[in-house]
């Protein structure tokens, strides 16, 4: 990852944290100041879906042309995506606690998000239960593609069909209902980009760590023989 991208990510998030907490937000009933959670909750989901998308693209590339590098990328992007998903769930529960009255509300979007996390937890369990490295990479790539494609209707279409208190569901508008003055977009879009770049950065670091570990193993292996 280029240095300027890292600096950009840090600058964007600094701006998001300062601007998100200090800039004006629309005054709405019930939501009040908790509307600022939008800058931190929604980008987590955007980030998760994008990271899972990157992960499954690497899985496709792996199947077309197998190499341990592509497999490492696919796993680590899924890993970071999972962390983003868990953070999205926690921030959503905190927000829900203030606006809906309880952290877990049986809301369709919440349930679907939980299922999306289950899919990728299952992905890691699958990886854990295969010994052969090559087979592990291939089978988990197949499951990754299959699960991601089956997940899209899950988290995007179904919540829109059922009634829900969550914005963007059951005919409710998306976050348009909040930003009457579109000022919030000025912070929201940088937040999405910034968090996603941070996710890519973390994944990149983890891929490097993985490569180094492999090298160490190789050296140790050579020393033994």
């Amino acid at each position: 990852m280029k240095t300027w991208v890292k600096i950009l990510a840090i600058a964007l998030l600094l701006y998001v944290h300062i601007g998100g907490l200090l800039l004006d937000v629309p005054r709405l009933n019930i939501l009040n100041e908790t509307i600022r959670a939008l800058y931190f909750h929604v980008p987590m989901w955007f980030g998760m879906v994008l990271l899972f998308l990157v992960s499954s693209v690497y899985a496709i590339l792996y199947l077309l042309k197998p190499s341990s590098n592509l497999d490492a990328k696919s796993v680590e992007f899924a890993n970071v995506g999972l962390v983003f998903g868990i953070l999205g769930m926690v921030t959503g529960m905190l927000w829900a606690n203030y606006t809906w009255g309880s952290p877990w509300h049986g809301d369709p979007k919440q349930n679907m998000a939980a299922i999306a996390l289950l899919v990728y937890l299952a992905y890691f369990i699958l990886r854990g239960s295969i010994q052969n490295e090559e087979q592990k990479a291939r089978l988990s790539a197949v499951y990754n593609i299959f699960a991601f494609t089956a997940m899209i209707p899950l988290i995007f279409i179904i919540p829109r069909m059922t009634s829900s208190m969550h914005p963007g569901s059951g005919g409710n508008p998306g976050f348009n209902m909040y930003d009457l003055d579109s000022k919030m977009r000025l912070v929201f879009y940088p937040a999405v980009i910034g968090w996603f770049l941070i996710g890519v950065w973390i994944a990149g670091l983890r891929i490097k760590v993985r490569e180094l570990e492999e090298k160490i193993l190789d050296i140790q292996h050579d020393q033994i023989h």
Binding site: I125, L126, Y143, A147, A150, P153
Partner: protein, 218 residues
């Protein structure tokens, strides 16, 4: 080739009756347990509970029945298939065979439910169409997952863990359609769900067809 393979599946299945009768007994046991645990308050089982119980029984019977399509096959037999048929022919034949199996299980479950528990359906045609469509999805998804799980150490646990999150989209559509059938709504109201179910099915079949060769190669 596909026809031969399907024929082979049926002949094998009918010859060793243990598997099919085992799955049937499994379904009967689940439904009987549902009946026993709910019989004290038989009047109080409402429609939502009926559909939840029905789909749970069908889901578990399907997972166990279709898991057999790759898990438990002898290694030598798999190598033999590998040498005589293309992977596409094998997965398609398995899917088609499993559609028949899954549909048979669903219809059997429905009959048993009407005998033991209740039959509150108002629109039976819509419900049977739902059973047909969902058995396509179950079959395609579970056949592929079974092929993945068969390569691992603890295949039976993985079969459940891997398939449940993926199958939920399908299951939710089926449950929604069942609700419409229970209420006897007009078919126009179920159109969206039917198309969705069909779309999910096509995605699952297409993915199974495309991805299976990569699993098969090992």
């Amino acid at each position: 080739m596909i026809l031969n393979l399907i024929q082979k599946e049926f002949i094998l299945e009918l010859r060793r009756k243990a598997v099919i009768s085992g799955i049937s007994l499994y379904l009967v046991s689940i439904i009987f347990i549902c009946y026993l645990t709910f019989s004290l308050r038989q009047s109080s089982i409402n429609e939502a509970t009926w559909s939840a119980l029905f789909w749970l029984s069908i889901l578990f019977a399907n997972v166990n029945g279709i898991a057999k399509s790759f898990i438990g096959e002898k290694q030598g037999l798999l190598i033999y298939y590998y040498s005589i048929a293309s992977p596409q022919a094998i997965i398609l034949s398995k899917i088609i065979y499993n559609v028949v199996l899954s549909l048979a299980l669903s219809v059997m479950g429905y009959v048993l439910f009407s005998i033991f528990i209740d039959n509150p359906l108002q629109d039976k045609g819509l419900f049977l169409l739902t059973l047909l469509l969902s058995s396509f999805g179950f079959s395609a998804c579970l056949s592929l997952i079974s092929a993945i799980a068969s390569k691992t150490n603890n295949s039976n646990i993985l079969m459940a863990v891997l398939s449940f999150p993926v199958i939920i989209a399908l299951l939710l559509m089926a449950i929604k359609l069942t609700k419409n059938a229970l209420d006897g709504l007009a078919w126009d109201d179920s159109q969206d769900e039917l198309w969705n179910l069909l779309a999910i099915n096509s995605i699952m079949v297409a993915l199974a067809y495309l991805l299976f060769p990569y699993i098969w190669r090992s």
